[in-house]
């Protein structure tokens, strides 16, 4: 897993504050472009809550053994993980919020409270909620300026996949004749776009208070030189090897979405899925920790 660092914003009395760019240490030879997940959610009953998570990666980790590979080093190195979170608006005094020193980078998700269906000809479903996703990439998120941030084929496909993933996880029967929107925006793309979106959107849905069967954690995986690799960066994806994206419901171990569009020998499939699942479970641990910390903080504040 790529390294994702964690931090929380603190309130401060100074009206103006500033921070330089993220200063996470970057080992030589690694790509320095980080990606991450950002999450913002307005909760229905309190001032719109907004938590952002970002990540930096400083190194890739291999799973599944193998000898020297430029990507990682040492077998059995536990994946370094942490989700960077900052900027919650839940403390009631907005005047003294300070942005943490790491930015929201990568991807941002927002889930407004479930509401009456808007537009979309199809109308409401009588027994469950309609899940409506929107995926968009900022024009500056890729190396080359992206001319069509949404509406093109890739975005539509991504939107559909997100919708299907979350329809599998959200308990839509509890919101008949309503619509749940999930808006996701990629600010910086460095491989694993779908996975970042799923992880961010999971947190957003949890923050919105919409019940889900389980966390949905996603990771990509590939197969290079007889080694299964988890969490591919853009360079690794572009190299053309087989790659798969996996969205997992970690507690039950059920797969919500598995997508692979390349040639891979069936003997290797197990290894690839195993690598991706391992990364998903690691992400789950982080997401869970962050959510629990956040809830602890909020209840402590409300309790005062």
């Amino acid at each position: 897993m790529r390294d994702v660092s964690s931090g929380r914003s603190r309130g401060t009395g100074t009206p103006l504050s500033c921070h330089g760019p993220a200063s996470a240490p970057r080992p030589r030879g690694r790509r320095s472009a980080p990606w991450g997940c950002g999450v913002g959610v307005p909760a229905p009953h309190c001032p719109p809550g907004d938590t952002d998570w970002g990540s930096h990666h400083s190194q890739g980790c291999r799973t599944g053994g193998g000898s020297h590979h430029p990507r990682g080093h040492g077998e059995g190195v536990p994946p370094l993980l942490g989700l960077q979170s900052w900027g919650s608006r839940h403390p009631p005094a907005p005047g003294d919020m300070e942005w943490g020193s790491h930015l929201p980078q990568g991807c941002r998700a927002r889930v407004p409270p479930p509401h009456h269906p808007t537009g979309h000809g199809a109308g409401a479903l009588p027994d469950r909620a309609l899940v409506n996703c929107q995926y968009s990439m900022a024009t500056f998120s890729t190396g080359e300026r992206k001319r069509r941030p949404h509406g093109d084929r890739k975005s539509s496909e991504m939107t559909l996949h997100l919708k299907q993933t979350f329809e599998a996880a959200i308990l839509t029967e509890l919101y008949p004749r309503s619509q749940i929107d999930i808006y996701v925006q990629i600010l910086q793309a460095d491989g694993g776009n779908y996975c970042a979106c799923v992880n961010a959107a999971t947190l957003a849905v949890i923050d919105a208070g919409i019940p889900m069967r389980d966390y949905v954690c996603a990771s990509s995986a590939g197969f290079v030189e007889d080694t299964a690799l988890a969490d591919l960066s853009y360079v690794e994806e572009a190299s053309g090897g087989p790659q798969a994206a996996l969205a997992l419901l970690p507690t039950s171990g059920q797969i919500a979405l598995l997508q692979m569009d390349s040639r891979l020998h069936e003997d290797h499939l197990e290894a690839v899925i195993e690598a991706a699942s391992g990364a998903c479970r690691a992400v789950h641990a982080v997401l869970d920790g962050v959510v629990r910390d956040h809830v602890r903080e909020v209840t402590a504040l409300l309790g005062d």
Binding site: L16, C18, G38, D50, A93, W99, P104, A138, T139, S141
Partner: protein, 278 residues
């Protein structure tokens, strides 16, 4: 004064007036006080320059991408700056997905005017070879969280992002006529002027509050935005209809805008200095 909290949703204007009578606002600010401002520069590595600005809860990110193009025929020695402000449905439920709405288009035009009027960058500086090659700077400003005062935040984000832009040096090979881009040698943009926007909301035709939140903007009867540069000169006064203002009140706004400019300039300088050279 204690009054029921539901007043805020049932009678928002009355609720608000009670605060204004005491010369303050529901979030505890004074009428002339800005929200906590934070800026973060250079976080998006895929962009040539980027900045994230937070004005309280309003969050705006600006990414600048530079491309090469042929200059226009009638201005052969000028490059282009193309701003665009996006208010996606992500930032607030008030915005529907689809083509850019009125507010986004008005904001884009405002930013384009600020760039033009303030001469923040001389377009001649963007020219590489007269009539053949020039830089195009695409400045995309995306609102990530909408809580009022989008114009100030966008202008600030744009200024900070442009200060962060590093353009690779480009030479034209005399023999082949092709351009050669040297990514290893990067030069920062020359920022001629530093325009800073300050917005006010007008209440009941008389009271002016600076840096309105989304709630305050909805209750206001008018808005004014003043853009000044570092020589205390006016670059732009934007008052789109709304309650009429006396000349004296407008002068007060300009004075406050000049003070705000100094605050913002100090903040930007501090951030630029804190960036470790890489």
């Amino acid at each position: 004064t204690s009054f029921p909290i539901y007043c805020r949703t049932v009678e928002p204007l009355e609720y608000y007036r009670r605060f204004l009578k005491e010369n303050c606002r529901p979030d505890g600010r004074e009428l002339g006080e800005f929200r906590a401002t934070t800026v973060n520069i250079g976080s998006i590595t895929t962009a040539d320059g980027s900045a994230l600005v937070k004005l309280g809860n309003t969050t705006v990110i600006c990414g600048v991408k530079a491309e090469l193009a042929a200059p226009a025929v009638d201005s052969a020695n000028k490059g282009y700056i193309v701003p665009n402000v996006e208010l996606p449905s992500l930032c607030s439920t008030r915005f529907r997905s689809g083509p850019p709405g009125e507010e986004a288009q008005a904001a884009s035009q405002f930013i384009a005017d600020v760039i033009e009027n303030s001469q923040i960058i001389a377009k001649e500086d963007l020219c590489i070879a007269n009539g053949k090659l020039a830089w195009v700077l695409y400045c995309d400003i995306i609102c990530l969280d909408y809580d009022g005062n989008i114009l100030d935040a966008s202008a600030f984000a744009l200024l900070a992002a442009l200060k962060n832009v590093q353009l690779p040096s480009v030479t034209i090979n005399e023999e082949t006529g092709l351009s050669e881009v040297n990514l290893k040698q990067k030069n920062p943009l020359v920022i001629r002027k530093h325009p800073v926007a300050t917005s006010f909301a007008i209440f009941d035709d008389t009271l002016l509050v600076v840096d309105p939140t989304a709630e305050e903007e909805d209750l206001a009867t008018g808005t004014v935005t003043i853009v000044t540069d570092e020589e205390d000169r006016l670059c732009s006064v934007h008052k789109p209809g709304g309650s009429p203002l006396t000349g004296a009140k407008l002068q007060d706004c300009i004075t406050r805008a000049i003070t705000r400019h100094k605050e913002v300039k100090k903040l930007i300088d501090k951030v630029i200095k804190s960036i470790k050279p890489n």
